[in-house]
């Protein structure tokens, strides 16, 4: 299957899932059931920033489904393929928002934090602008080698990047004793692939908050994230079509995707790096991230990420 066909298949699958999720939820709770993420002024941030539309109820999500559907135009054209990627992002946000509509805190029982509240984003703004956080890494999937995955996370950490973990990478990192937490700049998001939307949500709210972009200015949004949000994605293990179409969404936002398996490569946007000892270097070069401070050769990783670390008595 061609790359574009794969993306369309994934986008359609994500949309189908979103539609089903919304229908089930409406049947359970009715159309008027409130839909909101905790501690945000931006409604469902991806949908709000892209369309200017605020979602308040499960009923409103039906309109959002229409938007997502309209973004899938199956033609052999890069612009259309990237739009389909954005559609997957919208579908993912719909699915995630339903979780919050049905439960107070759907992420209660897992290490992932789910939706990232506004105050956290505001607190990240300054270090992002100053380059103190030189980049945002999104790690997704399941690595063949947990050791190598941990090394990658620690490497990002030592360079001061903010790392988000999605899927099995969370457990793998924990098993390898990687310290997680905001102050460590390693944030587990969630096990479901749709939870990756909470990272996208960080990027788009950064555009709204710091770029003073108008909600609904999709072109402006994509330009801002491409130019100003130094994010990229590392995928581990085999990719299914939904992940590929989510990857297209990342590329639409200007975030390159570096996979550890063979993919149809697009220079600067979609790369294969099978040698995981080179994942970090490859990613930084692709996103043109330059590390400001020279790494200091001391036995423990040294970076701002450790500033907030509490040294426990028993350590």
């Amino acid at each position: 299957m061609s790359l574009f066909d794969l993306i369309y298949a994934g986008s359609n699958a994500a949309w189908g899932l979103a539609e089903q999720t919304v229908a089930d939820a409406i049947q359970q709770k009715g159309k008027d059931q409130k839909v909101a993420f905790p501690s945000t002024a931006y409604s469902l941030p991806v949908i709000y920033s892209a369309t200017g539309m605020k979602i308040n109820t499960l009923g409103d999500l039906e309109t959002a489904l229409g938007v997502a559907k309209s973004l899938i135009v199956e033609e052999e054209d890069l612009g259309k393929a990237l739009n389909a990627g954005l559609s997957t992002a919208v579908s993912a946000e719909i699915i995630e928002s339903v979780k919050y509509a049905l439960q107070e805190d759907p992420y209660e029982d897992e290490p992932g934090i789910g939706f990232v509240p506004d105050p956290v984003i505001r607190s990240l703004g300054v270090p992002l602008v100053t380059g103190d956080i030189p980049g945002i890494a999104v790690l997704l999937g399941e690595s063949e080698s947990p050791e190598e995955l941990a090394a990658i996370v620690k490497d990002y950490q030592s360079k001061g990047l903010l790392t988000f973990l999605v899927g099995k990478t969370i457990d793998q990192a924990m098993e390898q004793d990687v310290k997680l937490g905001l102050e460590m700049r390693v944030i587990p998001i969630g096990y479901d692939v749709t939870s990756v939307i909470h990272v996208v949500s960080v990027a788009v709210r950064a555009a709204l908050i710091f770029g003073a972009l108008k909600p609904g200015d999709l072109a402006g949004l994509l330009e801002y994230t491409k130019q100003r949000v130094p994010a990229f994605v590392n995928t581990f293990g085999p990719l299914n079509e939904v992940v590929v179409s989510a990857g297209a969404g990342a590329i639409a936002l200007g975030f390159p995707v570096i996979a550890d398996i063979d993919v149809p490569e697009v220079p600067g946007a979609l790369l294969t790096q099978k040698d995981r000892s080179l994942t970090v270097k490859t990613s930084l070069e692709t996103r043109e991230i330059k590390i400001k401070v020279k790494e200091i050769d001391i036995p423990v990783a040294f970076a701002a990420a450790f500033e907030g670390e509490r040294i426990r008595k028993d350590a």
Partner: protein, 630 residues
């Protein structure tokens, strides 16, 4: 005169009005005088290769004469006429290359001709097994030049450059007996076989034509390009301007027209000499304004950024401006009409090559032995002529466009290196290009080449097809007069990315290139063969597997026939915007447009409507993509 011919070109249209006032005759006047075309010739059904003829075959099967006096059928006559066009085209490119090889053989670090691109020389020396260790560059150059010169007439073996083609293509050529031997030999053999009483089989005639054409693309033209780069420098990206508006009111204007860089390079040098510039100032001009036309224009714009006055159909219009002190020409595509036309103005029409003398011109023979001196004499003539300009007769259309030119294969690859990740890929390959084609970001690539032809509206087909293709994410590389059409239309600017589909636009931005890349002159189509071949090799495939096409929207010359034939024989589908004179033989037409594909994996398509043509190209690319599963 009908202005319809220039409906697409408002700039030049104003000049045709002026032609009437000035009593100047133009190509469109002559076209009108020609009245309706002869239907026999138009269909390729007229034969005059022996004195029993001329014979002509009725275009209606079963009615009227079906055979020539010797018994040749429509199939045979059409195929013979076609073959002779291929032979002539091949001979033109090859003789051009021979001259370059000759001056390379004369090269001397203290002389007029010096090796400029040593790296490229050493690469070629290596490819051809020439010893380079501890030798002077000139020595190496002389040996390489000698080998090149032997390519024209060596008694044994096949063309050296065919080994640059992808493996499966080389194998196919070998199996089909398409491997070209010595260049001149192929031309001679083809002329032999078209003699009365020789080849009487259209299939065999076409196959011989195909082999001969390969002696052009992978022989003469490739030698011409490679050696020109070695001697005059491999082109690099640079800016220039194009269209008649580059002619200057207060300068000595010199139009450089023709083909051969061994001549034009020296003219460029001569025009830059301080002594010449001082002389121009003495006669009251601000300086010397050298402008180019046709392929010589392309050669000097690729290497020096010399401005482009226009393409083939504008050669008379440049004189019509009344501001041209001299038109200096060497060989090929030069209207003999320029002699009469320049008599209407002060313009000196200077021919320089013993291979292309023209009655009514001023003949100043160019001598390679005294290259610079001899071009200085010519430039001096132009300067002296400045005082004779009749200012009341001057009309320079105020139109020109900016253009980025100079995209040799080497320069394209340099640009591609910008998007290579140093941890996942190696530099100096075409992989980024093949990647974006495979991912679907680009749907394919088209080489758009060829001439102008009053059978169609000038430049309209070129520009329309280019715009349609880039809009649909097909990257365009171009040479010859097609390239100049693109330059005039502003398609060779970074801003032109706005006319592209999302994928091509993205590629232009990231790689830092315009969507239409100027790859040079007609012999430089060998650069296109080179880059297509590299992509095929990169993927372990044959040219015919790739979503790649060649297009000649407004072709006219026999060179174009040879080009189209070697492009198809190299496995690349070719679209002709002017129907060749073959329709008189259904069988031959069917071979070109259909059954030839069984032999070489590619075919010709004739389509005169540029919009329809572009659609056919896009459909074909998708078909090839489907076959590849991409």
């Amino acid at each position: 005169m009908s202005h319809e011919v220039l409906e697409f070109d408002v700039v030049s249209a104003s000049l045709t009005e002026k032609a009437k006032t000035d009593g100047a005759e133009l190509i469109w006047d002559r076209q009108q005088a020609m009245k309706a075309k002869c239907g026999f010739g138009d269909k390729g059904l007229c034969c005059r290769i022996c004195a029993m003829g001329p014979c002509r075959i009725s275009p209606v099967e079963g009615k009227g004469a079906q055979r020539g006096l010797c018994g040749a059928t429509a199939d045979v006559i059409v195929s013979r006429n076609f073959a002779r066009m291929v032979a002539a085209g091949t001979s033109a490119h090859s003789d051009h290359a021979r001259e370059i090889a000759t001056v390379m053989h004369m090269s001397n670090k203290d002389g007029n001709y010096k090796v400029k691109d040593v790296g490229k020389l050493l690469n070629l020396a290596k490819e051809w097994g020439v010893e380079t260790e501890g030798r002077e560059n000139d020595d190496i150059a002389h040996e390489v030049a000698e080998i090149a010169l032997n390519e024209f007439g060596k008694p044994f073996g096949t063309q050296r450059f065919i080994t640059r083609a992808p493996e499966p293509r080389q194998k196919l050529w070998k199996e089909k007996n398409f491997e070209p031997r010595a260049i001149d030999r192929e031309v001679v053999t083809l002329m032999h076989s078209t003699h009365i009483g020789c080849t009487g089989d259209a299939d065999s005639m076409l196959e011989m034509s195909m082999r001969t054409s390969l002696a052009d693309g992978w022989g003469g033209s490739m030698i011409g390009t490679e050696l020109s780069d070695i001697m005059f420098g491999t082109p690099t990206a640079r800016g220039t301007e194009a269209n008649l508006g580059v002619i200057e009111e207060n300068m000595v204007n010199i139009l450089l027209h023709g083909h051969n860089p061994s001549f034009s390079e020296m003219v460029v040098l001569a025009a830059e000499e301080p002594e010449m510039i001082a002389m121009a100032k003495e006669v009251g001009a601000d300086g010397i304004n050298l402008v180019g036309m046709c392929c010589t224009g392309n050669e000097v714009t690729m290497r020096h950024g010399v401005k482009i006055a226009g393409n083939f159909y504008q050669q008379e219009l440049a004189v019509l401006t009344g501001a041209m002190e001299a038109v200096i020409v060497d060989v090929q595509c030069i209207f003999p009409a320029l002699a009469r036309l320049s008599d209407c103005y002060h313009t000196k029409f200077i021919t320089t090559s013993p291979k292309a003398k023209i009655t009514g011109s001023t003949y100043i023979e160019f001598s390679e032995e005294h290259a610079l001196e001899s071009t200085k004499t010519i430039v001096r003539e132009a300067i002296m002529n400045y005082a004779n300009r009749d200012r009341s007769k001057v009309l320079i259309p105020q139109a020109k466009s900016k253009a980025l030119v100079g995209y040799s294969v080497e320069t394209v690859i340099q640009h591609l290196d910008k998007v290579v990740n140093s941890h996942t890929d190696v530099f100096n390959t075409v992989k980024p290009l093949s990647d974006v084609i495979w991912a679907g970001v680009l749907r394919g690539a088209a080489g758009i080449v060829g001439c102008n032809n009053p059978q169609v509206k000038h430049d309209k087909s070129h520009v329309t097809i280019m715009k349609e293709l880039i809009k649909n994410d097909v990257i365009v590389v171009t040479t010859g007069c097609a390239a100049q059409a693109a330059a005039k239309a502003g398609l060779m600017t970074m801003e032109a990315k706005e006319l592209c589909g999302r994928g091509l636009k993205e590629v232009c931005e990231r790689v830092g290139i315009p969507p239409v890349l100027h790859m040079g002159s007609c012999v430089d189509i060998s650069r296109i063969l080179d880059i297509v071949g590299r992509v095929a090799i990169e993927r372990g495939l044959d040219n015919s597997d790739l979503p790649v096409v060649g297009v000649a929207p407004e072709w006219m010359s026999e060179k174009a026939v040879a080009i189209g034939t070697y492009v198809v024989t190299s496995g690349i589908d070719t679209y002709l915007g002017v129907t060749p004179q073959v329709l008189g033989s259904e069988h031959f037409t069917d071979m070109l447009t259909n059954t030839i594909e069984e032999k070489v994996g590619a075919r010709f398509t004739f389509e005169e409507d540029p919009v329809v043509c572009a659609q056919l190209i896009l459909d074909r690319m998708e078909e090839k993509r489907d076959r590849l599963g991409i």
